[in-house]
């Protein structure tokens, strides 16, 4: 069975400092991995996805993630946080052997202090 574990339920950073949101995955085969962001009272927006091409994936708004098979990790980073980055972030694995059911982590709430 596939699963993802987000290691922090809440992360707080100061504006202009780096962001690191941690995610570990479990999968019996090569996974498709995604990061989605959810702003308050909004739907989910795709930040980036990994589908077995380059291990360093660049997304929107300056975010990127690195797929590390040896560590079964897919951590999300951004060099410099902006106030508008405050939101809930979800690490997601896709049931790529089936029909693409998405399996979500519990989410990490990112707070950005001025």
């Amino acid at each position: 069975a596939q699963s993802v574990t987000q290691l922090d339920s809440h992360v707080s950073v100061s504006e202009g400092t780096p962001v690191l949101l941690r995610c570990n995955y479990s999968s019996s085969y090569s996974p498709s991995l995604f990061w989605y962001v959810q702003h308050p009272n909004k739907g989910l927006q795709l930040l980036l996805k990994y589908t077995s091409a380059a291990t360093l994936v660049k997304g929107i708004n300056g975010f990127e993630a690195e797929f590390k098979k040896s560590e079964t990790s897919f951590h999300l980073t951004k060099p410099s946080a902006h106030m508008s980055d405050a939101a809930e972030y979800f690490c997601v694995v896709s049931d790529s052997q089936g029909w693409g059911k998405l399996i979500f982590g519990q989410g990490t709430e990112l707070s950005v202090k001025p």
Binding site: G43, L46, D95, G100, K101, G105
Partner: protein
């Protein structure tokens, strides 16, 4: 190009009632998936529709049912509502009926409150 749209945005029902939520997929998409997001949780997969058939189902009771129309839009029906059905219901669409590598695009959701 319109993205995924859902209606209504908010809904209040009482226990035992029935509810229907609607979703129009992104232009060019033919596959619709539904997810339930309880407060403080990640979304949970309910089911997926492709070619007007339920193709895959998550761990939800039969009270949850759906439909897909020839224009690819979809409905989610929940019967005999329970307090625990209170949640944000998200619709996602994707293209080509493909499997796990296709990106799913989400609508803004319908927030259901069961009293």
């Amino acid at each position: 190009d319109a993205g995924v749209t859902q209606s209504p945005t908010h809904l209040i029902k009482t226990r035992g009632q029935q509810v229907t939520l609607r979703c129009s997929p992104k232009s060019g998409h033919d596959t619709v998936s539904w997810y339930q997001q309880a407060l403080g949780q990640g979304p949970q997969f309910i089911f997926q529709y492709y070619e007007e058939e339920e193709r895959q189902r998550g761990n939800f009771p039969d009270r949850f049912s759906g439909h897909q129309f020839p224009n690819y839009s979809s409905e989610l029906n929940v019967n005999a509502l329970l307090l625990g059905d209170s949640a944000l219901y998200l619709c996602a669409s994707s293209s080509k009926g493909a499997g796990g590598t296709e990106t799913q695009y989400f609508g803004p959701g319908t927030r259901l409150l069961v009293l």
